[in-house]
């Protein structure tokens, strides 16, 4: 990891997560994705490990371990299953926002007893009276969720709203990615809901949830990039062309070097942003920057890994096409990379 700076506690957690991922996630990831089966057992496993509560502050009912081990966990999981990493991100977003709001619902979500999906501001869901209206086109987890936590628009102000998923119309999607995370279109036809927070509390809750998403999806992409490189290296070591392993072809290994650099740089940005956030500093810009870099790195690494695999890479059996799809699908979530760049323009350059 070249990180130098995990505490012993953090290292312990990460080892546990790595073991869980290797034992319980990796063996089924491809199959679940191909057949679009929901990763319910794996979700339960995350709950058992306490990952949903991990970054939530202790005084809000969480484990208070901060975002750094959360990000590192997302990387581990993202290396095997972008879908599961996204479920983790969504659940932690909801738990984080509900914790900020002091909502009773937080406990169930942080424990994983209820599956929650986050619907961010970018969807423009409107609160009118005590019901929601609007449509969220692509929501990972929504197809199987019990609760939807929505950053809704109440006449220009952000409010945090909880809806029973069954009160909405959900359409399972054949989406580009996240196929074992039950991605769905959610339509709110005047769905009844409960307002969990308003005003500055809602704003703070939603911002915290957004940072979780930026960081978590960035870390998951770092994992996907790492996994793509590992897969490509393994294939290139075995595959013989023109009398020597592909890895001996300068053009092939040079691509790996470039992907490694992009992934390593993205990881530094992710960990840096997580540390800033854990120190209580504003991490919005840093986490968005990390997200953009990590998505790019994951797309690059998966794309090159497919290319290095040749025809094999185009089939579902070598995982790299899945990382490619999940990385591109990540790009459009949370408002998309473009929205991040516009916000960065304002934060970094006052534009």
């Amino acid at each position: 990891m070249h990180n130098l700076q995990f505490t012993d506690d953090q290292t312990l957690i990460l080892d546990t997560v790595a073991k869980f991922v290797a034992d319980a996630v990796a063996p089924h990831a491809q199959e679940r994705d191909e057949h679009r089966t929901f990763a319910r057992d794996e979700f339960a496993g995350l709950a058992e490990l306490g990952l949903f509560a991990m970054p939530i502050a202790e005084d809000r009912g969480g484990a208070g371990m901060g975002l750094l081990p959360f990000a590192a966990s997302c990387e581990e999981i993202g290396a095997r299953s972008g879908s599961l990493a996204r479920l983790l991100v969504g659940q932690v977003q909801c738990a984080t926002a509900l914790a900020h709001a002091g909502s009773d619902a937080m406990g169930d979500v942080a424990a994983g007893g209820k599956l929650a999906a986050w619907i961010g501001r970018e969807h423009g869901i409107a609160l009118r009276g005590s019901s929601l209206s609007g449509k969220a086109e692509l929501v990972p987890g929504a197809g199987e969720a019990d609760l939807l936590v929505v950053a809704a628009n109440d006449g220009g102000k952000t409010v945090l709203v909880i809806v029973e998923a069954s009160a909405t119309k959900r359409t399972a999607l054949r989406a580009l990615g996240f196929q074992s995370a039950a991605p769905a279109r959610v339509e709110f036809g005047s769905s009844a809901c409960v307002v969990a927070a308003e005003g500055s509390t809602a704003e703070a809750a939603v911002r915290a949830a957004e940072t979780v998403a930026f960081l978590g999806s960035a870390a998951a992409c770092v994992g996907a990039g790492r996994a793509s490189i590992v897969a490509a290296r393994a294939h290139a070591s075995e595959r013989i062309a023109f009398g020597k392993p592909l890895l001996g072809q300068q053009a092939v290994v040079r691509k790996l070097v470039e992907c490694q650099r992009a992934v390593d740089a993205a990881r530094h940005l992710v960990f840096h942003a997580a540390r800033l956030a854990d120190l209580g500093e504003l991490a919005e810009a840093a986490s968005m920057q990390a997200r953009i870099a990590a998505v790019d790195a994951a797309v690059l690494a998966a794309d090159e890994a497919i290319q290095i695999h040749g025809g094999f890479g185009y089939t579902v059996e070598y995982h790299v096409e899945r990382h490619y799809r999940d990385a591109k699908a990540t790009e459009v979530l949370d408002g998309g990379n473009e929205r991040c760049k516009d916000r960065l323009a304002a934060l970094q350059f006052g534009a």
Binding site: L173, G177, Y314, V316, V332
Partner: protein
């Protein structure tokens, strides 16, 4: 096509080719509407291929003497761009049939062989497949291991071919097999009918995209191939394979152009909706710039493709030119598809638009019929080795 008759004057199509393009566009709009369904259900676009056959689109590279329309490579490129701009699964089926199979038969087979097979190929009664790749030889095609042993008036063929486009649907396989130990001169080409005993369709690949086009392993177990089905002399197989791939690459370049164009149109439609009261575009500048760059490159690489096709139609060498066309166009297709997903955002990735399908379909264009690095090798060699 005579060597002096200009096909593309001043970068514009002749009226004949423009009319042909328009007729293919009609075909595509009429018959390829189920592209998304074929993709989702992993279903061969049979009706589309049959309709193409009826319209004569499976015989463009065949001489009139053999029942073809003798329109040549340029016309084929124009046709393939149109078809692939709607359904690349149909596109690759037709590309392989025309650019690889029919082209090879027309150029390298004996008159007798042509008379036996063209009647079935030109009307689509039989589809063709091109069997070069193996599990252990992709880019390095000369490493193939499939064996054909001469025994009297036939060859006994053993081996397995991988990544065979149209594998489960084809009736005629052009198979490259080893008749000698020399890496290159030990390779020969054969016409192998599906019904020959011992020919089996193996594993079907589960793929990222192009899911309407079946890709199979073709297993050859003690297949008796009549000696008169050998194409050309023993040992010229590799030459035939590479020469044919030059044409095939034009087909894939055109497929890439079609995909890129479709993505550019998606982006244009998306940005085009964003206007102010006076109809001026209000879409984000970076998105507009992306559109501008993609559109510029599309025009540029289409010209590279047409240039190579014209050279080939004239019987001139076009290896480097075809490689330039394929390598640039295939990368553009992927860039355009990635941009379309990003710009269309959730609608791009959710399946609500075709953007995510283009992304998946586009990815193969950089891999098959010579991966991008092989194209670069061909181009670099042409520049460095006088």
């Amino acid at each position: 096509m005579s060597a002096t008759q200009p096909q593309v004057v001043d970068f514009e199509l002749s009226p004949e080719l423009a009319a042909f393009r328009s007729s293919v566009r009609d075909y595509a709009n009429t018959h390829l509407g189920k592209a998304a369904e074929w993709d989702a259900e992993v279903k061969f676009p049979r009706s589309a291929v049959e309709a193409a056959a009826k319209l004569g689109l499976l015989r463009t590279t065949v001489s009139k003497a053999h029942g073809g329309s003798e329109m040549g490579n340029l016309a084929s490129c124009i046709m393939l761009e149109e078809i692939n701009a709607v359904c690349p699964s149909t596109g690759v089926t037709i590309s392989v049939h025309n650019s690889l199979v029919n082209s090879l038969v027309g150029k390298w087979c004996s008159e007798e062989q042509k008379k036996r097979y063209f009647p079935k190929l030109v009307n689509g009664e039989w589809l063709g497949a091109y069997c070069l790749s193996e599990a252990f030889s992709g880019s390095d095609a000369a490493a193939l291991r499939c064996e054909a042993k001469r025994e009297g008036d036939h060859y006994v063929m053993n081996g397995a071919k991988l990544w065979i486009t149209t594998g489960s649907e084809a009736k005629l396989f052009l198979v490259f097999a080893r008749t000698g130990s020399d890496r290159v001169k030990g390779i020969s080409a054969f016409l192998v009918e599906k019904d020959y005993p011992g020919v089996g369709v193996g594993k079907k690949e589960r793929k990222l995209g192009l899911r309407g086009s079946p890709t199979n392993e073709i297993v050859l177990e003690n297949v008796k191939v009549p000696a008169h089905n050998r194409i050309g002399d023993e040992g010229v197989g590799f030459t035939i394979a590479l020469d044919t791939l030059d044409g095939g690459r034009l087909g894939i370049a055109s497929q890439s152009l079609g995909i890129a164009r479709a993505c550019i149109e998606l982006i244009r439609d998306c940005l085009g909706k964003q206007v102010d009261a006076k109809g001026r575009p209000t879409a984000s500048q970076p998105d507009q710039w992306t559109l501008a760059d993609l559109a510029s490159e599309l025009d540029a690489y289409r010209m590279l493709t047409w240039r190579a096709a014209i050279l080939r139609d004239r019987g001139l060498r076009c290896g480097a030119e075809a490689a330039m066309a394929k390598s640039t166009a295939s990368r553009l297709a992927n860039r355009a598809a990635r941009a379309a997903v990003a710009i269309l955002g959730q609608e791009g990735a959710s399946g609500a638009t075709s953007a995510e399908r283009w992304l998946r379909d586009a990815r193969i264009t950089e891999i098959y019929e010579g991966a991008t690095d092989i194209q670069r090798l061909v181009i670099a060699r042409s520049l460095l080795v006088p």
